[in-house]
């Protein structure tokens, strides 16, 4: 049965569950399912930080999400409130807050919790990956 499966990631990028979320998404796509959106909340918001640089012999989940999302049209949505508490900012907010730089990783968008509520309503499954 083909399903719409949305993901909620609240694990930080360096936690095991963040890596498991990525593998789950790959398997869901390989299984013929649609993954319309991954919502990054809580410590998961750090996924959207373009300056993450894990050790070279370890996983780089942000980079992997960018590739996967680009190939399959998945929306990578970072909650704005969670992001600001954790130092992730897009260009618009940086300008408004008079910060000289922004650091949202390409491929990610910043938005509100309504994007989570939407997939609660529309997706057939919501699978969550806490830290």
């Amino acid at each position: 049965m083909h399903m719409k499966i949305a993901l909620l990631v609240t694990a930080a990028p360096h936690q095991e569950n963040a890596w498991q979320a990525l593998q789950f998404c790959r398997a869901a796509l390989a299984g013929g399912h649609e993954v319309p959106r991954v919502f990054f909340y809580g410590d998961g918001a750090v996924h959207g930080n373009a300056l993450l640089l894990p050790p070279q012999d370890e996983a780089h989940v942000t980079r992997d999400w960018q590739r996967l999302a680009g190939e399959h049209g998945i929306e990578l949505v970072v909650c704005i409130a969670a992001a600001l508490k954790r130092g992730v900012m897009d260009a618009d907010t940086a300008q408004r807050e008079e910060k000289s730089v922004a650091n949202l990783a390409p491929g990610f968008v910043i938005s509100g919790l309504g994007q989570l509520a939407e997939v609660m309503i529309e997706a057939d499954r919501l699978v969550s990956f806490p830290g």
Partner: protein, 93 residues
């Protein structure tokens, strides 16, 4: 009434979380991931009949030699199938 896949990735002092045990209904299923895979060694008798574990988490931790054969190891494809088969999942954060 809906069925639930309980996904657990942390234990409490080597045991399944008490709240998980209390909330687990007879039609539900359990998936051990992350640090919860140790429950197959430390809390084996408390595990329900419907129980799987994520193979990569088990192999990473060196648990394969002692792994109890009654708990099937699955890959992420199997994880997705479980999520589809049960009405919903509950991740124990």
């Amino acid at each position: 009434m809906t069925t639930t896949l309980h996904i657990v990735h942390k234990l409490e002092r080597g045991r399944l979380p008490g709240a998980l045990r209390r909330s687990f209904a007879s039609d539900d299923s359990l998936l051990l991931t992350g640090d919860a895979v140790y429950a197959a060694l430390s809390d084996r008798r408390e595990l329900p009949g419907h129980c799987h574990a994520l193979g990569d988490a088990v192999r990473a931790r060196g648990l394969l030699p002692q792994w109890p054969p009654e708990i099937p190891l699955i890959d992420h494809g199997g994880f997705v199938e479980l999520c589809v088969r049960y009405d919903k999942s509950l991740s124990w954060g």
